[in-house]
Structures are given as C-alpha cells and as structure tokens.
C-alpha cells in the first residue's frame, strides 16, 4: 500500500510545484493523402486528421480528470507537408488549420520541409509559403531541417531561412512577430518530437503514434532546495530521482492514452519544459544550484549536469524514450530566463554556449527588428554547426521584433510568454552567407 507521505508528495508536486504533463501529441502519417490536385489533397488531409484525431482531446481530458494530473496541451503532428504537396501547399495549410480547430487541439505541427542535403521543388514551394501561412493561420507550426550530422549544413537553406524569418516577422508585426514563434529551424531534427513548434511525424514513424512530453522544473527546483550547499554528486542524484518520478507519470499517461485511443505508444520525451509562471522555471533550477542568475559563469556546467541527470533519471522510467529529451531553455517562456536577459546576465552568446549541452537550441529569443536576414542566417549556421559537430539536435527560434530595439519588450501571451529584445552582434557576414552551397558532413558522420 502506498504511504500517506508518498501520496502527499505527489499531490504537492501537482498542486504547488506546477508538475504537469506538458503535451500528448498524436503523430499522424499523411503520405496517403498526397495528390497532384492541391484541393483534393487538402480535402483528404482534413478528413484524415479529423477522423484519426477525433478522440484525442476528449481522451486527454478524461485522463486529466481521472488521474488528477493536468495535461496542458493536446497536439497533432503530421508528415512534413512538403512530402505530400505536389502543387501549391497553401490549401493544405488551410485544411490543417481547420482540422486543428475541429479536433480542438492547441497546435498542429508539420508544415515542414526536410532539406538538410538539398531542396526539392516541393520544399521550395513550401518555404516560400511559410510567412503567409503563419500570418494567416492560427494553430499551425512550421519547421525546417537545414542540417544533419550525416549530410552537413545546407547553406542555401540557411540563407533562405534568414529571409523567411524576417518576412514572417514583418507579416505578423502587429502581434510582435508571433508568426516566428511558430517557426523553428533545425539541425538533426527528430521524427517523434511532441513539442512545438518543431513537432512533425517523420517518415520512419508508424501510421499514427502517441508521444508524450512531461514537465516539472518546479518539482526539480523544490527537490534541490532540500540539498542546499551539498556537493554536486548529491545534486545530480536528487535531479535523477525527481526526473524518474515525473517521467513515470508521463509513461502512465502515454500508456493510458494509447490504450484508450487504440493508437500505438511512441515515446516519452524526458523533458523539463518551463512556462512563464513563477515556480515553473528551468533558469531557477540553475540559480538554486548557486548562481545569482542564469548566465553567470558556471551556467553551462550547471545546465550540463541538469540535462544529463534528467536523462539518466528518466530513461529508467519509460520503455521508449525519444523526442528532444532534456532541459529546454526558451527565453520568453521562462520567468528566470526573462529576468536574466532583462538584467543583462544572459547574452545571445551565452545562450549559444548553453545550447551545446541542453536539449535543443536558441529558443524564443526576441532580437531587434532591424537585424539583417544575413545575421539571422549566421545565427542559424552557428547553431547548426553545434548540432552537426556534436551529433545532437539544435534549433533556432528567434523573433525579430519589428520596430523595436534591444531592451524593448515583446509580448506573445499564454505559454509563449514575453521577452526583452536582446542585442545581437551586428558585425557583417553578408559575404559569408552569400556563398551558399553545403558545408560537408563532419568526419565522424562516417561511422559505418
């Protein structure tokens, strides 16, 4: 029998420490919806998503009620749209948005292209449509993979994405560039990621699958409050134990959702995902370790320990682990990161260093509106290089704040939060970005 103290610990995690399941994401294969006629393809896409995804939101809500654990988001990820669109992708975008609204999900990811080695005609059509689609739809998220350890960095795509991010910001300028919050540029993108904006259903995935992302930075922080001043061995052990507990609940929710919807379980993403709410911050875990603010010297080491311990604790708690797995460090979605950026403790360069050891990359960072497309491409190239060389997923989700300069503030609302506009190194790189071509895959890509 479970002891009272254990019950109280679980209840405290949920009620006081913001422990929740961040997302149940249903991956749906759309390859069978492809058609030369854009409208016919869109109609099939709409029908399939509504049919397969019909039970997702009600099932998620039932599990929330029965188990007493909040499930913050219910989402759908689909096959990268560039793989199914043989013509204009915009009717498909509209169908995706309509299907997302019909199923009641919070977001739908997969308006995506995988072009780490080169672009198909469909990839180019999709890329060109991204700014307009993100401005005109509400629930669609877009991602583009521009690099991989196996194939190197597609610098043509990197160049194009700088321009697309600028254009997306301009078309959604009245919402502080919100379109860019729904657009992420990847290196080594994963096929089963349940988190937005980068979720898509990869071609190696089954017909459909349930992927779950857990969260609970507040729980880890509270656990570390109990080991103040103790050596790092104890810190790592404490994080591991906590990560194990929260991931076990993620596994339970994933199994229940899978059984109730009769859809195979895919993975649990062992993640610490923050929100702008106080007590739900990854940055505050770092400060609990003894840093005045995130960004202080030692931050990268602290994050490395955290990221590693989360994986070690979580991996034992789930039979299939995947997605991005690790600690997220979005700026606008984390009150501790927002405060550190506003205080000048956290720079873009320090964030770049942190992305070498965290689960993804430069995330939800507002930059001055006059930042050039080439500068954004340079940021993407640097981040992609970190991913390619270190054999990890990296990403860039920056938001050029049109008409705003460093120190101003942008507001996205809800889980996307708010952020100070951060200064960007403005020395020129146009000639570098103009070269195009492909940076070859690193030596360690040849592992056979």
């Amino acid at each position: 029998m479970i002891e009272t103290g254990e019950i109280l610990q679980t209840l405290r995690m949920i009620q006081e420490e913001n422990f929740d399941i961040r997302t149940i994401t249903l991956g749906i294969n759309l390859l069978d919806c492809s058609d030369r006629d854009a409208d016919a393809c869109a109609a099939r896409v709409y029908e399939k998503i509504c049919r397969v995804g019909e039970k997702l939101v009600p099932t998620g809500e039932t599990i929330e009620r029965e188990f007493g654990i909040p499930i913050v988001n219910k989402r759908i990820s689909v096959t990268p749209v560039s793989l199914i669109c043989q013509a204009d992708p915009r009717p498909i975008a509209r169908a995706l948005d309509k299907a997302a609204a019909e199923t009641g999900v919070n977001f739908l990811g997969g308006y995506s292209a995988l072009m780490h080695k080169g672009a198909t005609a469909a990839d180019e059509r999709l890329l060109a449509s991204i700014p307009e689609v993100l401005a005109e739809t509400k629930l669609i998220c877009s991602s583009v993979n521009v690099a991989s350890t196996r194939s190197g960095i597609n610098m043509n795509a990197v160049k194009e994405m700088g321009e697309i991010i600028k254009k997306t910001a301009e078309l959604t300028a009245d919402a502080d560039g919100l379109g860019c919050a729904k657009l992420v540029v990847f290196a080594n993108a994963v096929e089963d990621n349940p988190f937005m904006a980068g979720a898509f259903c990869g071609t190696g995935e089954p017909e459909c699958a349930i992927n779950v992302g857990v969260s609970g930075p507040g729980v880890v922080k509270v656990a570390l409050e109990q080991v103040k001043g103790q050596p790092f061995d104890i810190v790592a052990e404490t994080v591991k134990r906590t990560a194990f507990k929260i991931t076990r609940v993620g596994q339970l929710v994933a199994r229940e959702a899978s059984q109730r919807m009769n859809i195979p379980f895919g993975i649990v993403d062992l993640s610490l995902a923050p929100t702008p709410a106080r007590g739900d911050s990854v940055a505050h875990i770092l400060t609990e370790m003894g840093l005045e603010m995130a960004g202080a010297p030692g931050t990268t080491a602290a994050l490395a320990l955290l990221n590693d311990a989360v994986k070690k604790g979580g991996v034992m708690a789930s039979n299939h682990v995947g997605g991005l797995s690790g600690a997220f460090i979005p700026v606008s979605e984390d009150i501790g990161m927002i405060e550190a950026a506003a205080a000048g403790a956290l720079s873009l360069e320090k964030l770049e260093a942190m992305t070498c050891v965290c689960s993804v990359g430069l995330d939800m960072i507002a930059i001055p509106g006059d930042t050039s497309a080439a500068t954004i491409s340079g940021i993407i190239a640097d981040e992609a290089a970190i991913g390619v060389i270190n054999n990890k997923t990296t990403a860039v989700r920056v938001i050029p704040a049109v008409g705003k300069k460093a120190g101003d503030r942008v507001e996205f609302g809800g889980l996307l939060g708010f952020a100070p506009v951060m200064p960007v190194n403005s020395f020129g790189n146009e000639a570098f970005i103009a070269r195009g071509g492909r940076i070859p895959a690193p030596l360690h890509s040849m592992r056979n």
Partner: protein
C-alpha cells in the same frame, strides 16, 4: 481492482466521515484504507477505495459525490491510485 484515492479537506464539522462513507456505501464502493487528521480546525482525510463494486464510470461516480461536496462545503477530490503507484513503486 480499480483503486482510487478520495481526498476530503475543508473546515471541520460533525459527521464528515459518516456522510462520505454512507455515500460510498450506497454506491457499493469498498473503503480499503483511511487516514484522517485535523490541524488548526482544518479537516483532511484520505481514503483509498475500490471502485469496481459501483459498476459505473469514473465520471458518474465523481458526479455522485457532488451533492456531498455541496452539502459539506468541502473539497472532495477523487483520482486513480495508478498515478501514485507509478511514481513511487517500481
């Protein structure tokens, strides 16, 4: 066996346990364990129960508890025990 935790909390008054237990008995829900305490006039009780006897859905049982909540003006929360087993037992 479908086990659930029912946690009851609020200002202490006469007959809380009786009222909740009577309702559970009417619903054919067996009580497996109870812990209860009062701290500064604040009543807290946790009951582990077996829902199988009720032959109703989780939601229907929860709805049946609503009149008791309203009458006692207390928070009565029911959740499946699986979440505690998952977190604390390997």
């Amino acid at each position: 066996m479908t086990k659930a935790l029912i946690s009851v909390s609020g200002l202490d008054t006469t007959g809380i346990i009786a009222r909740v237990a009577t309702k559970l008995s009417e619903l054919q829900i067996n009580i497996l364990d109870i812990t209860q305490t009062i701290l500064g006039g604040y009543f807290t009780m946790m009951m582990v129960v077996d829902l199988d006897g009720a032959h109703m859905s989780f939601e229907e049982i929860d709805n049946e508890l609503q009149p008791v909540r309203d009458e006692l003006k207390m928070s009565i929360h029911m959740q499946r025990m699986d979440i505690f087993d998952a977190m604390h037992r390997i």
